[in-house]
Amino acid sequence: MKTKTSGVPLAYRLAVTSRVVAAALGGYAVAALASVCLAWVLPMAQAQGVITSMMLGFVVYLAAALWCFACRSAWRAWAAMLGCALVLGVLDAGLYWAHLR
Amino acid sequence: MLVSALLCYAGFMALCLAMQKHHASLVGRQGAPGLLRALRWAGWCLLGLSPWPAMAAQGWAFGLVQWCAVLMASAGLLVWLLPYRPRLAVGLAGVCVIAGPAGALLAGFG
C-alpha cells in the first residue's frame, strides 16, 4: 500500500504518527501523573515537594518520549504509556484518598 | 576566573595530546604509551584543579558558574585553533601550564 507522493508506505506513516502522539500526549500524561505521585510521597514541606515534583516531571516526560521511539513498535509505545498511566493513576488516587481520611 | 581558564586550557591540551591521532599530527611522531598515559593523568589533574581558583575568589556558586563557562570556552578555543593554527594552540598550552599554576600561587599568597 504505497502513497503517491513518495515511496513511503502508509502503514509506516501511521506508525510514526502513532508514536509521536504516544510520546507527546501519552508521555505528558505519564509525567503529570508521576509528578502528582512524587508530590504526595516526597518527605518535605508541601510547596517544596510540589516544586521538586514539577522539576522531575520533565525528566520523566523525556524518558517516556524517548521510550516511545526506542521501543520496537508503536503498539508497544502505547502499551507502555497507558500501562504507566494506569499504575500511576491508581497510585495517585490512593494517595489522595489516604490524605482525605 | 582567568587562572581557572588557564588551567582548563592546559588540561584540555594535555588530554588532546594523550590521544594518539592528535599527538601524531601535533608533535609529528607517534607517542609512547607511557607518555600518553602521563599526559592523560596530567590533563585530568589540571582539569580537576581548575575549579578551585574561581571558587576561592568568588564563592562556590559564582565560582562554579564561571568555571563552567571558561571550561567550555577553553575547549572551544582549543578545537577552533587546532586545524588552523596548531602550533599556536600548543604554544598557548605551554604558556598556560606555567602561568596557570603561577597565577594560582600568587592569588593564594596575595
Binding site: A47 | M19, M72, P83
Partner: protein, 525 residues
C-alpha cells in the same frame, strides 16, 4: 536491540531537529541577544542622559513621582537603577472609568524624579519577550516556546545518545571537507558547550513549570493555586486585599535605612509598596537580583510602611526552591559581569549555530542524493527556503529592526509597533525571496543584505542620532558603543560569509563549464 536503539534515536534527533529547528533557531538567536538586553535598551533610546544617584535619593524621587501620579493605586513597584540601566522603572495599576485596570510602566530619572523622555521603542525588550512569547498572545506564545524547549531537550539527549564517538572525537574538527566538516562543526558546537545547552534548555522548562506541569499543584492544593503561591511567597499573601483607612507612610529613604539596619550593606533591587497611603501599607525591599546566582522573586524584607517595624525578615529559602531559583538564575545570568556575559552570549550563539548547522546538513545530505536531477523535489525546495529565511532572513529582520530604530521619525504614532512591524515584514520578505531563490544565489543575496544593514547601523547611529561612535567612544559609553561596534563586527563576518558563498558558486560554475563546452562541441558535429 542496541543498534536499533541508537538508530531510533538518530531518526528522532533528525526529524525533531528539522521540524522545530527553525523555531528554535529564532528562539536561541533572540535569546542570545537578550543577554545584552539592557545595553540594547540604552542603545535604542540614545536621547536619554543617564544620571547616577544614590539609593536614598532615587527612592525619594520614585516616591515623589508615585505620590503625584498614582496616590490611590493598590500597589507600587519600583525597580531600582543599576549600573547597566541607571534609571528607575516604576509600575502601578491605573483603574480606568470602566473599572478594569491597566498596568502603567514609567521610566523615571533617579535624580530629577521626572519621567524620562525618549523615543518610543521597545529596544532590547522586544528580543527578550520574543524569545519566550514569540510575539503571540498570552498564553499561546509561552506554550509554543515551552513545547519547543521540550523538543530541544529531546533533540539534545537523542543527539548525545546518537553520538557514538563523543569522547574519541572530542577534539576533532576537520574544515574544508564538505559534509564531514559540517558534521564535525555541529558535533563540536554541541559537545563543547553541552553544559550550557543542557542548562539553558532544562532551565527554560523550569521557568514556566507552574504553567506547563501544574498537575501536582492542583492535586496537592485541591485546585487552589493561590494557596501554593502564598505558601511559597508569604510576602505577597496579603496583597490585593481591599485597602483601609488612610495613613501617611514614612518616606522611603527612612524605610531603606531600617532595611540597611537588618541587612548591612544590602543593595536594593526592587521595592514593592503595597496599599500605599493606608494604615496597612507595607514596603518590601528585595535584594539586588545580581547579588546571587539563584533568581528567587518574592523574597526580601517587608516593613510596615507607617511605623517602620519589621513584618518579615530575610529568610533562607528551602533547598528545592533554591534549586529551582538556581536554574532560573543560571538561565537569565543577571549576575554576570562583562566577561561572563560575553561568554553567555557566545554560548548562546554556539547553540544557535549548532541548530543552524544541523538544518544545513539535513538538507545537504538529501540534496546530494538528488544531485543529478535537474529539478529539486518540492519538499527540499521548501526546506531550503525555510533554512535561508529562518536563519539569514532572521538576521536581516534583526538588522532591519535596529536600522528602523535609527530611521523611523521620532514623532511617528505607534513608533515602537512600527519597529516590530519592520522586523516581521523584512522576515516575510526574506521568506518570499527564499521561496523564489532557495539556493546559492539566494544565500548570497540575503547574506549581503544582512551584512549591508548591519554595517550601516553604526553609520546611522552617527548621522541620525547624537550618540554615534564619535561621541560614545571618547565618553566610554560602552553600552551604546558596544552595540554599534558589534553590529559592525557581525556585518563584517556576514560579508565574509557572503564572499565565501560567491566564490564557491564561481568555483562550482567553473567546474561545470568544461563538460557543457564539450557537449556543445559534440552536438555541433
Amino acid at each position: 536491540m542496541r543498534e536499533g536503539f541508537r538508530q531510533a534515536m538518530a531518526w528522532l534527533h533528525t526529524w525533531a531537529g528539522l521540524l522545530f529547528g527553525w523555531l528554535l533557531f529564532a528562539i536561541f538567536l533572540t535569546g542570545s541577544l537578550t543577554y545584552f538586553r539592557q545595553e540594547l535598551n540604552r542603545w535604542a533610546h540614545p536621547e536619554v542622559l543617564y544620571q547616577q544617584a544614590g539609593t536614598p535619593e532615587s527612592l525619594a524621587s520614585a516616591q515623589a513621582f508615585l505620590e503625584k501620579h498614582a496616590p490611590g493605586a493598590p500597589n507600587w513597584l519600583i525597580i531600582a537603577a543599576d549600573e547597566r540601566l541607571p534609571v528607575l522603572t516604576l509600575y502601578y495599576r491605573q483603574t480606568s472609568e470602566s473599572g478594569r485596570g491597566s498596568l502603567v510602566e514609567t521610566v523615571v530619572d533617579p535624580r530629577s524624579g521626572e519621567a524620562v523622555q525618549a523615543r518610543d521603542s521597545r529596544g532590547g525588550e522586544f528580543f527578550y519577550r520574543f524569545h519566550y512569547e514569540l510575539e503571540m498572545g498570552y498564553p499561546w506564545g509561552r506554550w509554543l516556546a515551552s513545547l519547543a524547549a521540550f523538543v530541544m531537550f529531546v533533540t539534545l539527549v537523542s543527539g548525545i545518545i546518537t553520538h557514538k564517538k563523543l569522547f574519541k572525537d572530542f577534539f576533532t574538527f576537520r574544515p574544508g571537507k564538505g559534509q564531514r566538516s559540517w558534521l564535525d562543526g555541529h558535533n563540536a558546537l554541541g559537545v563543547l558547550a553541552l553544559p550550557f545547552h543542557l542548562m539553558i534548555t532544562y532551565s527554560s522548562l523550569v521557568i514556566f513549570m507552574t504553567m506547563t506541569m501544574p498537575a501536582s499543584i492542583l492535586s496537592r492544593y485541591d485546585g487552589n493555586t493561590r494557596a501554593f503561591f502564598n505558601e511559597l511567597f508569604p510576602a505577597t499573601a496579603g496583597m490585593g486585599d481591599t485597602a483601609q483607612r488612610q495613613a501617611p507612610m514614612l518616606p522611603l529613604p527612612a524605610l531603606y535605612a531600617r532595611y540597611l539596619a537588618l541587612v548591612p550593606g544590602g543593595q536594593v533591587g526592587m521595592v514593592s509598596v503595597d496599599k500605599p497611603g493606608t494604615a496597612s501599607a507595607t514596603a518590601t525591599f528585595t535584594p539586588k537580583v545580581g547579588a546571587r546566582v539563584a533568581y528567587l522573586p518574592g523574597g526580601g524584607v517587608t516593613l510596615n510602611a507607617v511605623d517602620g517595624s519589621v513584618v518579615r525578615g530575610l529568610a533562607a529559602e528551602p533547598v528545592p526552591q533554591r534549586v529551582a531559583g538556581g536554574f532560573y538564575g543560571m538561565h537569565m545570568g543577571r549576575f554576570a559581569g562583562p566577561v561572563l556575559r560575553w561568554l553567555y552570549f557566545i554560548s548562546g550563539l554556539a547553540a544557535t549555530a549548532m541548530i543552524g548547522t544541523g538544518l544545513v546538513m539535513w538538507l545537504g545530505k538529501r540534496l546530494l542524493k538528488h544531485a543529478g536531477a535537474t529539478v529539486q523535489p518540492f519538499e527540499l525546495r521548501v526546506v531550503g527556503a525555510l533554512n535561508l529565511a529562518g536563519m539569514v532572513g532572521l538576521v536581516c529582520a534583526v538588522a532591519a529592526f535596529l536600522c528602523a530604530n535609527r530611521l523611523l521619525p521620532l514623532a511617528l504614532a505607534g513608533r515602537a509597533s512600527w519597529e516590530v512591524r519592520v522586523f516581521f515584514l523584512v522576515w516575510l520578505a526574506s521568506l518570499l525571496h527564499a521561496l523564489w531563490r532557495p539556493n546559492g544565489a539566494g544565500w548570497l543575496q540575503q547574506l549581503s543584505a544582512a551584512a549591508a544593514m548591519l554595517l550601516s547601523v553604526p553609520v546611522l547611529s552617527q548621522f541620525a542620532t547624537s550618540r554615534g561612535l564619535a561621541v560614545t567612544l571618547p565618553q566610554g559609553d560602552w553600552a551604546v558603543a558596544g552595540v554599534d561596534l558589534a553590529c559592525a563586527g557581525f556585518g563584517l563576518v556576514l560579508a565574509w560569509l557572503a564572499r565565501r558563498v560567491w566564490r564557491r558558486a564561481l568555483q562550482a560554475r567553473a567546474e561545470q563549464a568544461p563538460p557543457r563546452a564539450v557537449r556543445i562541441k559534440r552536438e555541433a558535429h
